[in-house]
């Protein structure tokens, strides 16, 4: 049965717009809904007879993350507010929500803008600037990633999302931070000129928060879809990247509960916080790396038959192959929006002969070239490259490595890399590679 006595709505405001919440809360009261609780993005109301209620949202420095819900400072502050006619409703972080009856006008909780402004600076603005700093570090990491381009990022959904989509997150976050800085400057100016604090309208506050949170939600969804994309297209181990989320959530909730119920000193709580964060990082790394190495270190004797449409080379394909059982092999097929066809196969025979082949087909020659250059740089780290006759290989460009037992070539949108115990400059061997990997494209 539908519960008509409570109502939960989406609740998102940018920090400087907290005064705009009052307008919405008073609107809800006129519609017969009284605020009960506010979480990160939700506000819960309970049904009441429609009436006028006056709300006040104040910032109190003694109700931060590390402060207990019943700490003496907070209790004394709330008691003072209660005595002066403001009934405590709920709180979210530093924000304290009070209401009063308009029939008995209460003195506003803050009557001195200078004092109010100092409370805001030491609480919400400090948190925002800390957020800015962390985001700046995060963006530096992305700049570093972009400048140190890795062709392997083109091969996965998550790599593409990280390199080509996530840097754009700087736009909504930048708008957010610029707004906070402008608001801060306005606040300082108001204090200096003795003017009242700027109060945004509910409409503009909701529009701002709506746009920014929507864009951020799109980024989160993109990353989630990218992980899912990799998981279902041949790299299920990327799901291990999600392990830090539940671990972080569990540790975070545990720490929050401890901080909110314990009246330990702030110093002790900081020690607990740091220890908790280290423990969470160690646990998440341990679980992720443990599962990942377990997954990647699995036995390589599982591939019995290679599907006919897979563009890979096997020992059997080569004329010089001395027949022997396959000792180990591994086959991976991946795809990404930029490189929709990728095959990576290697096998080792009982006689220790081996072959491995990598096949990449990109959506455009531009991306194929990126892979080719990346692979070339990778291989030249281990040995000198030797020009291979591109026309013989029916390619745009080709290079041998290591006694011509390795070849890297590009043809249009296709990049091929072969490494085996065969002389690939031999026309017969070359034809095997061309007929199996290039002719079929």
């Amino acid at each position: 049965m539908r519960d008509n006595t409570t109502k939960t709505i989406f609740w998102a405001f940018l920090t400087p717009d907290y005064k705009a919440m009052i307008e919405q809360l008073e609107d809800m009261a006129r519609q017969g809904w009284m605020l009960e609780k506010i979480n990160s993005f939700r506000a819960k109301f309970r049904a009441i007879p429609p009436q006028n209620i006056t709300y006040y949202v104040d910032v109190f420095p003694g109700s931060g993350v590390l402060d207990a819900d019943d700490n003496p400072r907070l209790m004394e502050y709330r008691k003072l507010c209660e005595e002066s006619g403001w009934h405590y409703v709920t709180s979210r972080g530093h924000l304290q929500f009070f209401c009063s009856s308009p029939d008995v006008p209460a003195v506003p909780i803050q009557t001195d803008l200078e004092i109010e402004s100092n409370c805001i600076k030491s609480t919400v603005l400090r948190s925002e600037y800390l957020g800015m700093l962390l985001f700046f570090i995060y963006m530096l990491y992305h700049v570093f990633r972009i400048t140190r381009f890795d062709y392997r990022d083109l091969l996965t959904f998550t790599g593409i999302a990280s390199d080509y989509v996530y840097p754009f997150i700087v736009i909504p976050m930048g708008v957010w931070f610029v707004y906070i800085i402008i608001w801060h400057i306005k606040l300082v100016r108001c204090v200096k000129n003795g003017q009242p604090m700027p109060t945004p309208s509910l409409k503009s506050a909701k529009l701002r928060a709506g746009i920014i949170y929507l864009i951020l939600a799109v980024f989160v969804i993109i990353m989630f879809l990218a992980i899912l994309g990799d998981a279902v297209t041949g790299a299920p181990y990327v799901l291990f990247a999600l392990i830090p989320l539940p671990v972080g959530l569990m540790v975070g909730l545990g720490l929050k509960k401890f901080f909110k119920t314990s009246n330990n000193s702030k110093k002790n709580k900081v020690v607990v916080l740091i220890s908790g964060l280290i423990a969470a990082a160690v646990l998440a790394s341990f679980l992720t790396l443990g599962l990942l190495s377990g997954f990647l270190g699995r036995d390589y004797d599982e591939i019995e038959a290679i599907p006919a449409d897979y563009l890979v080379l096997t020992l059997e394909d080569f004329p010089g192959y001395k027949e022997a059982d396959i000792k180990m092999n591994s086959l991976d097929r991946h795809m990404s929006p930029i490189v929709p066809e990728q095959f990576d196969y290697w096998e080792i025979g009982e006689n220790h002969q081996s072959i491995s082949s990598e096949y990449y087909r990109a959506v455009t020659p531009y991306f194929a070239r990126k892979i080719f250059v990346g692979k070339l740089e990778e291989e030249t780290r281990y040995g000198k490259m030797i020009d291979a006759p591109a026309s013989d290989w029916d390619a745009d460009e080709a290079f041998y490595f290591r006694d011509k037992q390795q070849i890297l070539l590009i043809k249009g949108t296709v990049v091929i890399y072969v490494d085996g115990d065969f002389d690939l400059s031999d026309p017969e061997m070359r034809n095997v590679v061309i007929s199996k990997l290039l002719v079929k494209q």
Partner: protein
């Protein structure tokens, strides 16, 4: 918040210190400020809390009693000295203004 080093007092600070010339608890201070100023100055609970915290820290007021239900405060000798100094300063300003204006100072240019 408080003026630098509390050399001068803002209006709410001055009235709160006036109210604390006798022992008062939190809400009592708010009522007394209104009473002293004939309703002209009102101090909100948040503002009062912040100022009391600051005054206590700077030993301008002290906690007289805390029965768990409410806390009472009063001025320390330092606070009383500060209040007297501010009173004299304001008085001097009024006297200067009165003398100047009554002598037709503003019309002499």
């Amino acid at each position: 918040m408080a003026r630098e080093q509390l050399k001068t007092l803002s209006e709410p600070m001055y009235y709160i210190l006036l109210a604390l010339t006798s022992t008062e608890y939190g809400y009592g201070i708010m009522q007394k400020v209104e009473e002293i100023s004939s309703g002209r100055v009102k101090v909100g609970a948040g503002t009062l809390y912040a100022l009391l915290a600051r005054f206590t820290k700077e030993q301008i007021v002290y906690l007289v009693s805390d029965d768990g239900r409410r806390k009472s405060y009063a001025l320390t000798p330092k606070g009383l000295e500060m209040l007297k100094h501010e009173y004299e300063r304001l008085n001097q300003m009024v006297l200067d203004g009165t003398r100047y204006l009554e002598s037709g100072g503003s019309n002499e240019r």
